[in-house]
């Protein structure tokens, strides 16, 4: 069909035909835009005769494009077009001269003899010796034929509808998710396309965010409801295009025809009816689709607090290099906060993408208690608080009393093949140095889908997401109090023996664990990571003691190697503090008597657990879990067979399915993506026409408008209902047979003796005539006063 369709009813100056194309669109239209028009004042004169020049008026019937001989058009005819009927109707009569009639024998085809042929009906003027045919219905179809034999003769009367009759009863399937954002006209167009209709001239109208769900269902009722909400009718126009002309109170429109007394048939006259029983009080309800920009993360926080009678525990002694001093008693127990668990989560469109659990409680943080003095060959005491006044193995603490502390933080981030799931830039600190020796998932997951996922439909191969919504994996970070282990002595060469004594200056905790400070570690830093609750601490300040730090990272990825929506392989890489004690020829000796080539513990990849799901058939699968150690050697394999099902389903973001096919512009596409799917709220308005109630009894209507987008639109609809109800109904037969008037047009009618000088919204037109008789045009409309 044409991309551009326009019709000029009457041209009075060149300026009315001027068109302008802006910007780059001009280049696109080069040699693609072609327009032509005809403007014939004689046609208007024929349609609206104002003098005694006879207008020659007739009718033409075409079947499959072939005009029926006038000699065969032996009876009456009529065509009705109305905003109130979805299908426009026609009727023609023939005198039967034989059983075949002019179009065929209905007994032969068990129905109207035109079968599925197109039936076009034209109004005809004879102007300057030439025929001007004005389409009334194009592409119609017969729905019934009736043959009558009586004293009046042998008559065949055939009736039918317009092109809509070929599509209106088709069932279609079209589902548009809530928040789709297509204009209503586009929605109707998509429905019509599903029904096989290819001709449409639909104004877009307002954007629709409501869910459209037609499954093997009637599409025209949905389409008509949408258009009704918009204040439009839904019908096929006289040229056979599905259109949505405006109805109701005219706003900002110019009249197409101005008719006066000289244009109305005096025999039939003009009648205007005003009703007393009208609507004055309309209450409408509906549901508004809630749209949220970009499906922004929704944050949710829950706190669980325990209060009890408690006193922070105080250490009994202050240890210094010179000895011990007893401390004074601590404060008395009282009702106070004992523990606090804060659980936070962030969701995108109801899908959890981030979880954080923080546990707070009372804790004293351990510090180094002894340091080897190589000169005296003894352990010197370091400043700390402890519960023993001897050189024992009790821990030494940084604080005299327990402090309200952050004891644990566990962050879990879930990743989907969807924009917006990348880790914040300040959170990839450890990935830069800690990668799996096996390669694979860990480094890639932070910033982009791993390259090897591309083979399974994940990502675009360039490290970019493809928005197919499938689950990629998760990262679990665990932060807990931890002491990094170091060594107490070292040797120069692997062949050298370790010295008998610890290295001078080596420090240990109360339990003898060597100090590992100095290594790159990730202590919790309140300012950089998150606000720490007021009054809480997260370890020993500085780097010489225990602190809340990253102790574990689990990176899990799911693969769908069959691209069937099932998990075929799960891989989990675990990162921990690690000190390799397995090698020989080692240089560093820890306080526990083990040697390592690690000077201190390092945070690195330690194991990989791989779970494979192998479908045997549609009902069973095999699950195998294997664990590889830090050098890639498989250390453990567990196999389960005969498990039920094809395998676990690959999770998918519960977002709307956006095919993209229905969107013409990027703006519409973005609008749809940013809308929430199922969130709605009820809306309700009441409009009372108090002015009308001074003269009318109260007329109440309460109903639901399911397609209204918001309260403003409900108000518009309610006002339209009242205006329609209060509108006068006007009808007239025109003196001339005007084939150019049509429902939806705005007219100005003047008939002063009955007080008429108003704009008229034409609602229906009927043209009719008979052979050798007059062709008439009867028009009905609405006169709006409210």
């Amino acid at each position: 069909m044409a991309d551009l369709y326009c019709k000029v009813a009457e041209v009075t100056s060149d300026a009315e035909l001027l068109a302008e194309v802006f910007g780059v669109e001009a280049a696109k239209l080069d040699s693609e835009l072609d327009a032509e028009f005809t403007s014939d004042a004689a046609a208007e004169a024929a349609a609206r005769p104002r003098d005694l020049t006879p207008s020659v008026v007739g009718f033409e019937l075409r079947v499959d494009g072939v005009a029926l001989d006038l000699a065969d058009c032996t009876g009456g005819w009529s065509v009705s077009r109305s905003l109130d009927q979805r299908l426009q109707t026609w009727q023609v009569e023939f005198v039967l001269n034989d059983e075949d009639g002019p179009l065929g024998n209905p007994f032969d085809v068990l129905g109207p003899p035109t079968c599925l042929k197109t039936v076009d009906l034209y109004g005809v003027y004879l102007i300057s010796g030439a025929t001007v045919a004005v389409p009334l219905i194009v592409g119609g179809i017969a729905d019934m034929t009736t043959r009558t034999g009586s004293l009046g003769g042998y008559i065949e009367s055939m009736s039918g509808v317009d092109r809509g009759g070929r599509h209106d009863r088709k069932v279609v399937t079209l589902v548009l998710q809530p928040g789709h954002g297509l204009p209503r006209g586009r929605v109707v167009r998509e429905l019509a396309k599903e029904a096989g209709e290819t001709q449409y001239l639909l104004d877009d109208g307002r954007l629709c965010t409501k869910e459209v769900q037609v499954v093997d269902g009637d599409w025209t009722s949905v389409a008509a409801e949408l258009m009704d909400t918009e204040g439009r009718a839904l019908l096929w126009n006289r040229d056979g295009y599905l259109t949505n002309p405006k109805r109701g109170r005219p706003v900002g429109e110019t009249s197409t025809w101005e008719l006066t007394e000289a244009d109305f048939d005096a025999s039939s006259g003009v009648s205007v009816s005003h009703m007393a029983d009208i609507l004055t009080d309309v209450t409408l309800t509906g549901w508004q689709q809630i749209a949220r920009d970009g499906c922004d993360r929704e944050e949710k926080t829950t706190e669980t607090e325990v209060r009890t009678i408690y006193a922070p525990y105080r250490q009994g002694y202050t240890q210094t290099i010179g000895g011990y001093a007893a401390t004074s008693p601590g404060e008395a127990a009282k009702l106070r906060r004992y523990s606090l668990v804060v659980q936070e989560s962030e969701s995108i469109c109801n899908t959890v993408v981030f979880e954080r659990t923080r546990r707070f409680g009372w804790r004293n943080w351990e510090v180094l208690r002894y340091q080897w003095d190589g000169t005296d060959d003894e352990w010197d005491k370091l400043t700390c608080y402890t519960d023993e006044n001897s050189d024992g193995s009790a821990p030494g603490y940084s604080y005299l009393d327990e402090r309200w502390s952050l004891l644990e933080r566990v962050d879990t981030r879930y990743y989907y093949d969807r924009s917006g799931f990348r880790l914040d830039s300040n959170r990839n600190i450890y990935t830069e140095t800690s990668t799996s020796s096996l390669g694979g998932v860990a480094p890639g997951l932070w910033n982009a889908p791993p390259i090897d996922w591309v083979a399974y439909g994940r990502g675009d191969g360039g490290g970019n997401v493809t928005d197919n919504n499938f689950y990629l994996g998760r990262i679990i970070e665990t932060w807990q109090p931890y002491r990094i282990e170091g060594h107490i002595k070292e040797r120069g060469q692997a062949s050298d023996p370790f010295p008998d004594e610890p290295d001078n200056g080596s420090s240990v905790y109360g339990d003898g664990r060597a100090d590992g400070s100095g290594v790159t570690a990730w202590f919790f830093q309140p300012g950089a990571w998150a606000a720490l609750e007021e009054g809480a601490v997260s370890g020993v300040s500085g780097s010489t003691g225990e602190g809340l730090m990253l102790v574990g990272v689990d990176v899990q990825a799911s693969y769908d190697e069959l691209d069937g929506g099932w998990v075929t392989r799960d891989v989990t890489d675990r990162f921990r503090w690690f000190r390799d004690r397995t090698e020989t020829g080692l240089f560093f000796y820890a306080s526990d008597g083990t040697a390592s080539n690690y000077e201190n513990e390092q945070f690195e990849w330690v194991t990989r657990e791989t779970t494979t799901y192998t479908p045997l058939d549609e009902a069973t699968h095999v699950k195998q879990v294997s664990t590889a150690n830090s050098v890639g050697a498989v250390a453990n394999v567990v196999t389960e067979t005969g498990l039920e099902g094809y395998g676990p389903a690959l999770p998918r973001l519960d977002l709307e399915e956006l095919s993209g096919d229905g969107y013409e512009t990027g703006e519409q596409d973005e609008f749809a993506r940013s809308a929430a799917r199922k969130s709605t709220k009820q809306i309700k308005v009441q409009v009372i026409a108090t002015g009308l109630e001074t003269c009318h009894t109260k007329g109440v209507l309460k109903t639901e408008m399911p397609w209204a987008e918001d309260e403003d639109e409900l108000v518009e609809i309610a006002e339209r209902m009242i205006a329609d109800s209060a509108a006068a109904t006007i009808s007239a037969t025109l003196a001339g047979c005007n084939y150019f008037v049509e429902p939806g047009q705005l007219h100005r009618w003047k008939f002063r003796p009955i007080g008429l000088d108003h704009d008229i919204r034409i609602t229906s037109v009927t043209w009719s005539g008979s052979v050798g008789g007059r062709a008439t045009c009867t028009v009905e409309g609405k006169v709006y006063g409210w």
């Binding site: 005769p49 207008s55 020659v56 003027y125 000289a262 050798g772 008789g773 007059r774």
Partner: protein
């Protein structure tokens, strides 16, 4: 040039006895009275402004401006059995018959040179014995001025030579159906028959 027939008009009106369904009615038993009338095809529509507008049915681009069907009232004494039988047969046929009463019909066209148009009835030439283009010639007026070359006619087809408003006066064969056949004997040996011959058009 004056000839015979009615008042010696320039056209040969009533210069022969009428022909009914292939029989020329006899001079003795022929019609004692013929009257005919036509209804205008023009429709007058009064408007609410007290004015009028006019409408004509569309019959195609080659139709005359106004197609008036004629209805003939025929009355005759039954003095000739064959005349009576011809009329009775025409009425009993149940179909249209040829009727040539010896009058001229008039039709008006707005013509363009080279275009063809259709007369509402065929000319009688070749159909009615003794009626030829010589005995009953066309009388043509173009824009009100007699112009016998403004068009040519064959059968019902008019081929325009000139351009303008063409009036054609011609002697047609009317296709009629016999209606209202009435017969009465008012006194011994005095039988009357009367009927309506209503014209039907084929184009």
């Amino acid at each position: 040039m004056p000839s015979g027939g009615y008042l010696y008009w320039t056209q040969n009106w009533f210069d022969q006895q009428p022909w009914l369904d292939g029989r020329q009615l006899s001079a003795v038993g022929g019609p004692s009275q013929i009257s005919w009338a036509s209804a205008s095809g023009l429709i007058i529509v009064p408007t609410c402004a007290g004015t009028h507008v006019l409408q004509r049915p569309y019959y195609g681009t080659d139709a005359p401006s106004d197609r008036r069907r004629l209805a003939f009232q025929l009355s005759m004494l039954c003095d000739d059995y064959d005349d009576y039988r011809a009329l009775a047969r025409a009425a009993a046929k149940g179909s249209a018959i040829n009727w040539w009463p010896g009058v001229y019909a008039t039709e008006v066209f707005t013509i363009a040179a080279g275009s063809t148009y259709k007369l509402a009835r065929p000319v009688a030439w070749g159909t009615i014995t003794g009626v030829t283009s010589t005995t009953h010639p066309l009388d043509l007026y173009l824009d009100g001025v007699q112009d016998l070359t403004a068009a040519t006619v064959g059968g019902q087809t008019v081929t325009a030579v000139g351009a303008g408003v063409l009036e054609i006066h011609y002697s047609p064969v009317f296709k009629v159906v016999v209606l209202d056949l009435a017969q009465e004997v008012t006194e011994p040996n005095l039988m009357h028959v009367s009927c309506t011959l209503e014209e039907v058009l084929t184009v």
